[in-house]
């Protein structure tokens, strides 16, 4: 159920969005990247951005507070933003981030405000975007305000929220079932508790160069580091939050100089377990959304799905 638009309507709709706030959409240069976009013609309707949309909620590095002579002034971000053209895997990535950052006990203020002020409009995939996509195995939810499916120059807009519904009231309804993409790649085993033994992961870990791209480009990897940076006058400074990665050796460095996960093997295995097992044990959904970026953008093309599928006791 939803609304139907033709190409002209979609352009008008896009222009209408410009009046609501900053529209960010995928733009293709050397690779595809989400950027503020003013013209409809700049929007790239194919492929998927290398960097996920998490950057609009959890920037790679940002000052969360200003330090002025020992006092802290918390920063905020009330910018109205429309994300236009995110894929369903990325939108489900937000569902994962929400589990942590919108936790009623420990909500993250700046994240919550950004989520509140952002409208999420997705593009449905007609076909898997890469050989590494396996989202079908991850049971993605309809987590968006609007989702646009293109079919023969017509745009079918499914409505996922009241916020979304209010944007498209003037268009005609449709009532057909839209096809979902079928992924070649499948994750066959989502319970890997019994496979913690090092021998299962050694072969992959030898290929790991610790470049951290699997975590930095992951739509659900949210680990961050907080550090104060002072100007040389030692009076003014900022408290910065920046993306961190469990593939970094310093990630588990503690006082006294001990590193808990001191080998690439321990770090790689930990990431896979967190994505597939640990998070699910705690929050009921797996942390992985099946976008395949961690394999596609891995220098050594380490394929953890293949490894899991071949796990045998």
């Amino acid at each position: 159920m939803g609304k139907i638009l033709d190409k002209k309507d979609l352009k008008c709709f896009f222009e209408k969005l410009q009046k609501i706030g900053e529209v960010v959409a995928p733009v293709k240069n050397e690779n595809i990247s989400f950027k503020p976009v003013k013209k409809f013609s700049e929007v790239c309707f194919e492929g998927r951005s290398m960097f996920p949309i998490k950057k609009y909620f959890l920037p790679t590095k940002e000052a969360i507070a200003e330090i002025k002579n020992d006092a802290f002034v918390e920063k905020n971000d009330f910018k109205k933003r429309i994300i236009f053209g995110a894929r369903l895997c990325d939108l489900n990535g937000l569902l994962v981030l929400d589990k942590l950052f919108l936790d009623p006990l420990y909500p993250d203020k700046i994240y919550a405000i950004r989520r509140e002020n952002t409208i999420l409009i997705g593009f449905a995939c007609k076909e898997p975007l890469s050989d590494f996509c396996f989202c079908e195995s991850m049971d993605l939810k309809d987590y968006y305000d609007l989702l646009i499916t293109e079919n023969n120059e017509k745009y079918y807009v499914s409505i996922g929220s009241k916020k979304g519904a209010n944007l498209v009231t003037e268009y005609k309804d449709y009532d057909i079932n839209l096809k979902k993409p079928v992924c070649k790649k499948k994750l066959k085993n989502k319970n890997i508790h019994d496979f913690f033994d090092e021998k299962f992961w050694e072969k992959d870990a030898l290929k790991c160069v610790s470049c951290q791209r699997c975590t930095l480009l992951c739509p659900t990897c949210l680990c961050f580091d907080v550090a104060d940076e002072m100007n040389i006058d030692l009076k003014l400074g900022t408290r910065n939050r920046s993306l961190d990665s469990c593939h970094s050796k310093d990630f588990t460095l503690v006082a006294g100089g001990h590193v808990f996960r001191d080998t690439k093997l321990k770090r790689y295995r930990h990431r896979v377990f967190h994505k597939i097992q640990y998070f699910k044990d705690k929050f009921e959904i797996p942390m992985c959304v099946g976008c395949g970026r961690c394999m596609e953008f891995c220098h050594s093309k380490i394929d953890f799905v293949d490894t899991i599928n071949n796990l045998k006791k």
Partner: protein
């Protein structure tokens, strides 16, 4: 608060590393308000001997003179910082170590190899081959922001943590198109970043001026470059340009692990 006594000394090198400190321009005066720069022979006419609270040592040991100077400075410094890739990894002069016979290189430079003892070449080596080093800030030249952060941390009484992540981290965060993925030559995954991926951001592969990561996966790195059609001889030359000894050490370690398998 008494200002910490800071010194900037130099042995064999191009002096580019200490220039990085002097070139902080508008911040230099503010910096000088916080520290007491008691010795900086490149900048000052009058230079005090130690004791120093912090001494930045630039350059590598390549002669007897260098070694004597370094040892004297080490004794006088509470904290000794190896500044720049010469001091941390041996850098370009260290290429000489790839020749089993050092006179091959020396005979190209000196007409007469019977040199006076003081300038008689020693095996080029990073300073920690001879003295204890407290902190390492590599880079050819090192990054201004790293030096400033280091000094600020010390002034605040914090233990400085030196960035130890590969170039790929900053490169990916800048959403650069990966040069390795495009089939080009880039040493990024094996090299310590902190440079904000300067070279890959302008489409030039990383050549490794910060020296290798402390836990670089050299064997896989070589494999990736070979997949991209880079000749193994060239790969070795790239490695050896900035840090012959460290790369050789990491390679040996990796081979040992592989043999065990």
């Amino acid at each position: 608060m008494t200002k910490p006594k800071v010194a900037i000394h130099s042995i064999t090198g191009c002096a580019g590393c200490q220039l990085t400190i002097y070139f902080v321009k508008d911040l230099l005066l503010k910096l000088l308000e916080k520290i007491d720069l008691v010795a900086a022979p490149m900048l000052k006419e009058k230079n005090n001997a130690g004791p120093y609270d912090v001494c930045f040592m630039e350059g590598l040991v390549a002669s007897k003179d260098d070694l004597e100077h370094l040892k004297k400075i080490r004794e006088q410094s509470k904290i000794l910082v190896a500044l720049g890739t010469c001091a941390t990894h041996g850098n370009v002069p260290g290429i000489k170590n790839s020749y089993s016979d050092s006179t091959v290189v020396e005979s190209r430079v000196y007409k007469n190899l019977n040199l006076k003892e003081q300038i008689m070449p020693l095996k080029p080596a990073p300073i920690d081959a001879h003295v204890k080093v407290d902190y390492y800030i590599s880079g050819c030249p090192p990054e201004e922001k790293e030096i400033l952060k280091f000094i600020t941390d010390l002034l605040l009484g914090k233990k400085p943590v030196i960035y130890d992540e590969p170039v790929c981290v900053e490169c990916s965060l800048k959403e650069n198109d990966c040069l390795l993925e495009r089939g080009e030559e880039c040493l990024g995954p094996m090299i310590r970043g902190g440079c904000d991926a300067l070279c890959p951001s302008v489409n030039h592969g990383c050549t490794g001026c910060h020296g290798p990561l402390s836990d670089a996966n050299i064997l896989q790195g070589i494999k990736l470059l070979e997949q991209n059609g880079v000749d193994i001889k060239l790969i070795k030359k790239r490695f050896h340009k900035y840090s012959y000894d460290k790369f050789s050490e990491l390679e040996e370690q990796a081979k040992k692990i592989k043999r065990k398998d």
